[in-house]
């Protein structure tokens, strides 16, 4: 073996690379093509939201919540709203719960489509990303019709949702689901039936099943080890207790198993959206909060979890009875996936697979450093 291959080198996988939606640096120690050690460096996207909300009233704080995460902002605002509702003991109308479920699942689908682009792009298959980002736009159109914005909606606020479904939106949502479902076979043919992707993804980035929960693995990476865990089943919220859906699991714990889980979950999300639309009750969409300038939330703490596309996210919210939050602390799935889990599974992998594995864990750096 040549001396160059035996020598350890430090490689900086710098903030902008195909592995992730966001900026994060991984300091790699490599020997030839093989990773010996990995160290995660974050800090490129710290916006200090948790400090900012301490000087903003509850409604102003709500507007910052969706901005924690770029690829899937809706679970953030939903979880914060539910935490405030828990502190207040505020009931949400049935219609609002169904609308929230629809919006949360649409957010999952659009985030999965974005993930398709990232996962395939980081293995060199760029066509799929062009398709999926294009198809994702139809869901963003639905969001724009409903909330006025494509990405950051600020729609699912404490008490319900900000406005009712506009005229014609339900019909458009059904048609969008039919269209997206019709496209899935194309994605399967291009990605999952692709021998190169199979060879790249199988046996790579393995998370051991017996260690997964202890390591803090959640979401699709956990279900890709064969463990069935989903917050929508364990602690149902909104209308999820009335929805019929399956939580797919696959054995193996590798990139391939995680990809299969996500592939199956898109179909489940489409089914949930249709069920919620079919059974949407009439009634109010909002349990009105008091005048936001004078709104105080009773003292206490709340720990609320939601199943986002990356896995379980949680908000720990503390109120001192005043008009501003005392503490808001987000725990995103990427906080463990992107730091300790990544640092454990990268040693022994090929450099070319680092971005690939990063994408399969669904690491979202804005969620790590908030």
């Amino acid at each position: 073996m040549s001396k160059t291959r035996e020598k350890e080198t430090t490689l900086y996988l710098d903030p902008q690379h195909p592995g992730i939606t966001g900026n994060m640096m991984i300091k790699l120690k490599v020997k030839g093509d093989t990773v010996i050690k990995a160290e995660t460096h974050v800090g490129y996207l710290h916006r200090a939201f948790e400090k900012l909300v301490e000087n903003r009233n509850w409604l102003q704080s709500f507007t910052l919540m969706c901005r924690f995460c770029v690829p899937e902002p809706d679970p953030m605002e939903l979880t914060f709203a539910r935490a405030v509702e828990k502190l207040e003991g505020r009931e949400v109308p049935e219609r609002a719960k169904y609308i929230r479920t629809i919006v949360a699942e649409l957010a999952r689908i659009q985030s999965f489509l974005l993930w398709y682009g990232g996962q395939s792009g980081s293995s060199g298959l760029y066509t799929l990303g062009q398709w999926s980002v294009g198809d994702r736009n139809y869901i963003l159109d639905l969001f724009e019709d409903l909330t006025g914005a494509r990405i950051y909606h600020m729609y699912m606020w404490p008490g319900g949702v900000r406005r009712d479904l506009p005229k014609g939106w339900i019909d458009k949502a059904y048609k969008t689901m039919d269209y997206i479902e019709g496209r899935l076979d194309n994605y399967n043919q291009l990605l999952f039936d692709n021998a190169i992707f199979q060879k790249r993804a199988q046996g790579v980035g393995i998370i051991p099943k017996d260690k997964a929960i202890e390591w803090g693995v959640v979401g699709a990476p956990l279900r890709g080890t064969g463990i069935k865990h989903d917050v929508r089943i364990d602690e149902p919220y909104d209308a999820y207790d009335k929805m019929k859906f399956v939580v797919p699991t696959y054995e193996g714990g590798d990139v391939w198993a995680r990809a299969l889980v996500r592939r199956d979950e898109i179909k489940q999300s489409i089914s949930i959206v249709r069920q919620a639309l079919d059974n949407l009750p009439e009634g109010s969409y909002y349990n009105r909060i008091p005048n936001p300038m004078k709104w105080t939330v009773p003292a206490g703490e709340a720990w609320v979890k939601t199943e986002s596309v990356r896995g379980e996210i949680g908000f720990y919210v503390v109120s001192d009875g005043g008009n501003k939050p005392k503490r808001v602390h987000l725990k995103g799935a990427a906080y463990t996936h992107g730091v300790t889990v990544l640092e454990k599974i990268l040693p022994g992998q090929n450099i070319a697979d680092v971005s690939f594995i990063l994408n399969s864990l669904g690491v979202c750096p804005p969620e790590i450093e908030r």
Binding site: V42, G43, H46, A48, E50, K51, L52, E54, N55, R56, N57, Q60, K86, I213, E214, W215, G216, I227, H229, D234, E235, M293, E301, W303, K305, E312, G314, Y316, V318, N323, K324, K326, R327, H329, K331, Y335, T336, V339, T340, V341, K344, E369
Partner: protein, 187 residues
């Protein structure tokens, strides 16, 4: 809420704690900081709470204390236990629990950086999110973000009067501002 009451009674039997079942699947306990690692280890190894959900810190400046909160979850019973403890704000020190869960290292590094709490034996670079930070730990309540911005950043030329936009506009337009609009509601 039988399962919740059972685990609470169990913990009260073994450790010096106070606590209550806050809601379905939520048990909240409070203890002295010297018992925290034992309680977490007991819950993890004996009671199946193998998932560390979260470690948080809240600055109770009014009490001169920080509150550390450890949130753990049992995948079989689906119950969550929140373990609270208070530490002195003047000399904040807390036991490092990354021997129990590796990922606690990440939480503790961030809390060390943001609140200035010392975790003896905690490994890992001192800088986690911030870079070249010279001021007090910024998540402390006595860190004033507005004052920091005024002291460290300058206004763009022509925007020096933008410190109070309403006053600046009123001076230019000579318009009388109504009493209720003179102050921001959050002041």
């Amino acid at each position: 809420m039988k399962k919740e009451q059972k685990i609470l009674a169990d913990l009260k039997d073994v450790f010096e704690i106070s606590g209550k079942v806050k809601a379905e699947k939520r048990i909240s306990i409070k203890t002295d900081k010297k018992h925290v690692s034992s309680i977490l280890l007991y819950l993890k190894t004996q009671k199946g709470y193998i998932h560390l959900n979260h470690i948080s810190c809240v600055d109770f400046i009014e009490d001169n204390e920080f509150e550390m909160v450890y949130i753990i979850w049992n995948p079989k019973t689906k119950l969550t236990v929140l373990v609270h403890t208070r530490i002195d704000r003047k000399n904040p020190k807390m036991e490092n629990i990354d021997a129990i869960w590796d990922q606690a290292n990440t939480y503790e590094r961030e809390i060390r950086e943001m609140f200035g709490i010392h975790f003896p034996g905690l490994k890992g670079r001192k800088e986690f999110i911030l870079e070249d930070w010279q001021d007090i730990p910024p998540m402390r309540k006595d860190f004033d973000t507005q004052l920091y911005a005024i002291e460290h950043f300058h206004s763009r030329p022509g925007r020096e009067d933008a410190q109070n936009v309403r006053e600046a506009i009123q001076q230019r337009s000579k318009e009388e501002i109504p009493e209720f609009a003179k102050k921001y509601s959050r002041d």
